[in-house]
């Protein structure tokens, strides 16, 4: 894909703090109009990388390009182009919601200030708290105001650092839904350590661990790359006699255990072998009392664990 479709290109950036390396040789790209998941456990270097992309922290080496422009703290062409919601939203606690959003809009020189602020407050359902001081709001509302702050000057590229962290389930669902709808008109780099959330929202992901990129690209491709074969979950009713299970001897059988009168076990196939039909034939022919037969492919969580554990 040509660079014209890339809104963000991170090229081999590193960042050192006194006594430690926070990020080492990180490279990845974000396509225009996508929601790109940025995954990693706590302390992996996500926030540092995001601050560097936003131009708030210089990398020790490497280069970042946003919308074809080299990111520097003072590049005038990138002002108003990046919206950042850091882990701790930059809220001015002694200001009312409306005043705060108007203040941010004015800093960015927004022309149709009233309409823009009104629209963003309406979209994020914070109209009812517009006159209240931000410091007195609940965490859910504060996060909405934090998100509103990134939208009020209509930046095409949003960086959201764990936006749903620590919120109640209803707010999480609403915010996720809103972020999904936002992707129609914005490109979003979205960090999280909640894997189902990333699976729901993102088409592209980058997994970072201990300051290094462990995997990056299309979610399905990463699935395919890291899939360690199929797993067949089998549950059989055991009568007085144990059925003949010798056929499973040639496969990798794991997690076998009894649950009452049922034996459950997992059969794993390598990527290049698929013995489902052979096992199916056997099960029918042998007349065993089959209770469960389920094919599972690894979840993002498994990939994540695999990536973050094996490369320690």
């Amino acid at each position: 894909m040509s660079n014209i479709n890339k809104i963000l290109v991170v090229d081999n950036i590193s960042r050192e703090f006194p006594g430690r390396k926070a990020v080492t040789n990180v490279s990845f790209e974000v396509e225009k109009g996508s929601i790109h998941g940025f995954l990693g456990p706590n302390g992996a270097g996500k926030s540092t990388t995001m601050r560097m992309i936003a131009g708030l922290l210089p990398p020790s080496s490497g280069q970042i390009t946003v919308l074809g422009e080299k990111v520097t703290g003072s590049n005038p062409n990138l002002k108003n182009q990046i919206g950042l919601l850091p882990e701790n939203a930059p809220l001015i606690l002694d200001m009312s919601v409306e005043k705060y959003l108007r203040f941010v809009a004015k800093l960015h020189g927004v022309q149709n200030l009233n309409d823009q602020v009104e629209q963003v407050m309406s979209e994020l359902m914070i109209l009812d708290v517009r006159k209240r001081l931000i410091g007195n709001l609940s965490k859910g509302y504060k996060q909405r105001v934090g998100l509103a702050q990134t939208l009020v000057y209509d930046a095409p590229f949003l960086i959201l650092d764990e936006p749903t962290n620590g919120l109640d389930p209803q707010t999480v669902v609403e915010l996720r839904d809103y972020i999904r709808r936002l992707s129609d008109r914005k490109t979003i780099l979205f960090s999280s350590h909640i894997l189902p959330e990333v699976e729901q929202l993102c088409d592209q992901i980058t997994i970072i661990h201990q300051g290094r990129v462990r995997a990056t690209g299309n979610l399905h491709e990463i699935h395919r790359k890291f899939r360690q074969g199929l797993v067949l979950k089998i549950g059989l009713r055991v009568g007085e006699h144990l059925p003949d299970l010798s056929i499973f001897g040639k496969y990798e059988v794991t997690q076998s255990h009894f649950v009452g009168k049922e034996i459950q076990f997992h059969v794993t196939f390598e990527n290049d072998t698929d013995c489902r039909s052979e096992i199916g034939k056997y099960l029918i022919k042998s007349g065993v009392n089959l209770l469960t037969l389920q094919v599972e492919s690894p979840e993002l969580e498994d990939i994540f664990l695999q990536v973050t554990e094996t490369k320690k």
Binding site: A54, P58, K79, P86, P90, I92, D94, L107
Partner: protein, 251 residues
């Protein structure tokens, strides 16, 4: 842009109790000082023969001492005003709002400096009763009063610019305030250093570098170009350092 940030800062000052406490405390202390100076002056004048009493200057004993005391109070009050300007924003990371917007560092520095000066002016405004009283007792000298106010105001500008710089290098308000206090003390001590040195040239250099000599000259109505250059350079220098300190995030 500068106006937007100035307005937000001033609103923020007056949204918290700190501004009211500072203004109230400043008025109270200066009021007590003024009262004491008046009482000491009248007691002193009454205690000595009339021909000697005529030699004791009201301006010297009350007006100049009052403004010198106001300058002394700034040692504590201005660091308390400037301590949060950048350090609080750094701690809460709200300072990033500026850096993601097209605003420049120098605009933020000017806006924040002006907002701190606004609070200083509010404090000084409360002392307006003293000139009225002084006017009432027959010292109808506009130039004396204006140079007195100008002297403390120029000193306040210097302390604010120093305070801004101290606030920009730390995210801890207490450290910021302590650094400002130490900085102001150091400015005063430079002049004392000049007094201790027997070499005329060195003594003069110390005198010029210290703020006290300039302050005293303006307070006595002897405003010269060298004083204006001193204040201008001082304010610009620390403003420049603050801009540079904020710009460290750039590359």
């Amino acid at each position: 842009m500068i106006w937007t940030i100035w307005k937000k800062e001033v609103e923020s000052y007056f949204a918290s109790p700190l501004a009211y406490i500072l203004i109230g405390l400043f008025s109270l202390i200066t009021g007590i000082m003024f009262f004491n100076l008046l009482v000491t002056y009248t007691d002193g004048v009454q205690a000595i023969p009339q021909d000697m009493a005529q030699n004791i200057s009201f301006v010297e004993e009350v007006v100049l001492k009052l403004f010198a005391n106001i300058n002394f109070l700034f040692l504590i009050f201005i660091p308390l005003i400037t301590m949060k300007l950048f350090s609080e924003e750094k701690r809460l990371e709200t300072i990033d709002l500026f850096w993601l917007s097209p605003i420049k560092e120098w605009q933020v520095v000017i806006a924040k400096g002006l907002s701190a000066l606004t609070l200083v002016l509010s404090m000084l405004f409360m002392t307006i009763i003293f000139p009225l009283i002084i006017w009432g007792v027959g010292i109808k000298d506009i130039s004396l009063l204006s140079t007195s106010y100008l002297s403390v105001l120029l000193n306040a500008c210097c302390y604010v610019s120093l305070g801004l710089f101290c606030s920009s290098i730390t995210s801890n308000q207490i450290i910021s305030a302590l650094l400002s206090i130490l900085g102001i003390l150091f400015l005063w001590m430079i002049t004392w250093g000049g007094h201790l040195n027997s070499n005329y040239m060195i003594s003069e250099i110390f005198n010029y570098l210290g703020i006290t000599s300039h302050f005293e000259r303006i307070l006595r109505g002897l405003l010269g170009t060298q004083d204006l250059i001193y204040y201008g350079t001082f304010i610009f220098f620390f403003g420049f350092l603050t801009v540079k300190s904020l710009g460290r995030r750039n590359w």
